[in-house]
């Protein structure tokens, strides 16, 4: 009985508009990645679409959207490894949506706090994946930080987690959470009404 309730409630989150939001959110994540490349700064921006969706459609939709960001990358380019990292996106989407559900995005000063929590989650989930799949290496600037921690005699896991967290905090601490948050705030009322979670964010 109680279990049935859960499933119906989760299914009810996937309204038509929430479903169409997912491909678009993935598109925004991709656009974020392009901007990251153009900026040449260590801010990934590749979860802005997922976090945006979390603020509009809640944890379940954003979690699915996040995970499929990587599934689609795998299907488009054949990067099988990308599927594993989908779990990171899933975690971020779900958690950001959970914060929306709790109404924690409402106050502007809570946004960076939520961002830090997201960064920690991202680091926690990605650390074991990056170790098993890629030997701890990303092929980006973050590897220098990782190498530095290792060289200074840190424990392997401390090194990998600390380097990940450091880099995630640059991304999600402010920019990747603030940008979608500001967009949701500025949404005209008639659009905002069409999404379940906006009233818990604005």
């Amino acid at each position: 009985m109680a279990k049935q309730d859960w499933i119906t409630r989760i299914k009810a989150e996937f309204t038509t508009i929430a479903i169409v939001m997912i491909p678009i959110a993935i598109g925004i994540n991709q656009a974020g990645r392009l901007i990251h490349e153009a900026l040449g700064l260590p801010v990934w921006l590749d979860t802005i679409g997922t976090i945006f969706t979390a603020m509009l459609c809640g944890p379940w939709v954003a979690g699915v959207g996040g995970f499929f960001t990587n599934v689609v990358t795998a299907i488009a380019y054949g990067r099988a490894t990308s599927v594993f990292f989908g779990l990171v996106q899933l975690g971020i989407g779900f958690l950001a949506g959970f914060f929306a559900w709790k109404g924690w995005w409402k106050k502007w000063w809570k946004v960076p706090l939520c961002g830090i929590a997201l960064a920690a989650t991202a680091a926690l989930i990605s650390a074991p994946i990056v170790v098993t799949v890629r030997g701890g290496v990303s092929g980006q600037g973050i590897d220098l930080v990782f190498a530095f921690f290792l060289a200074t005699g840190q424990n392997f896991w401390t090194a990998i987690f600390a380097s990940r967290f450091l880099i995630e905090i640059l991304d999600k601490g402010i920019i990747s959470t603030y940008i979608p948050w500001a967009a949701v705030k500025r949404l005209p009322e008639k659009y905002a009404r069409m999404f379940k979670y906006t009233k818990k964010v604005r």
Binding site: I19, G27, Q30, I35, G40, V72, G78, V133, A147, I179
Partner: protein, 258 residues
């Protein structure tokens, strides 16, 4: 101008192309499972070499190896970091100045990981080169993949190029209003806010419009959905799937024992 569909698929009339996507998925997943079982990178290299007949039978011998160049940087970093700092280091291979050393265990670990990445990349790439996403979704729907997941995959492949061209238009529109996108870090960061605003607003508008279009096509109908695109599992698919799983078990066990 971006491509209409984000896709690596190359249409060829080959044995491998004609296999059911599920069969190819079973092969790819088996290989990925296998490389996480193996304990030596030499075994991984043997698995890697097996790609050659597959590639040959898909008439894409050259293309399959194209993305390897992207792995090069990762390999270099992997060997340097793990060679120097591998946490479970015991044997010094070469002593370097300032107390640094290259460690044998580190290099072995790095080769293990690199060979894994190599195998995953080529087999994954072979899969997408020979499998149209439409067929993949249709085949998986037959295996009860929830309908919306299929929709999400296909629609995303179509919509990503749209979002990219929308982004390009927005960049052009704001440049035309005197926005400089080059310069110091602060300048660059500030330059991108005017671009993201319209991107988010536009995407919400798009979502609403597309939701309308889907509703007009009975998207929310509760009945059992059917599929226009048809993929059939043939006898050869079944045979190959069984063979693959047998191979997986044999290779897995031998690799584990050796």
């Amino acid at each position: 101008m971006p491509r209409a569909l984000l896709i690596s698929y190359i249409d060829k009339d080959s044995f491998f192309h004609k296999l059911n996507p599920v069969t190819k998925l079973v092969i790819t997943i088996s290989v990925i499972i296998l490389i996480f079982i193996t304990k030596s990178f030499i075994h991984n290299l043997i698995i890697f070499i097996f790609i050659i007949p597959f590639a040959y039978y898909s008439k894409l011998t050259k293309q399959v190896f194209m993305p390897i160049k992207y792995l090069f940087i990762i390999f270099v970093i992997l060997f340097v970091i793990q060679g120097l700092f591998y946490p479970f280091r015991e044997t010094v291979l070469i002593q370097l100045p300032y107390g640094f050393a290259i460690w044998t265990e580190g290099l072995i670990y790095a080769s293990m990981i690199s060979s894994r990445l190599l195998v995953m990349l080529v087999y994954g790439y072979l899969f997408v080169l020979t499998t149209h996403p439409g067929d993949l979704v249709s085949a998986l729907r037959k295996l009860r993949l929830p309908y919306i997941f299929g929709y999400i995959v296909l629609a995303t492949l179509q919509i990503i190029p749209r979002v990219q061209s929308q982004m390009a238009t927005i960049i052009e529109a704001q440049k035309s209003r005197g926005l400089e996108t080059k310069g110091s870090i602060v300048k660059r960061l500030r330059a991108y806010t005017p671009l993201l605003g319209p991107l988010f607003m536009g995407s919400v508008q798009n979502a609403i419009e597309r939701a309308t279009a889907l509703e007009a096509r009975a998207f929310s109908a509760k009945c059992e959905k059917t599929s226009y695109r048809e993929t059939i599992i043939m006898k050869k698919d079944k045979v190959i799937m069984v063979l693959t799983i047998i191979c997986l078990i044999i290779f897995g066990v031998t690799s584990w024992l050796l």
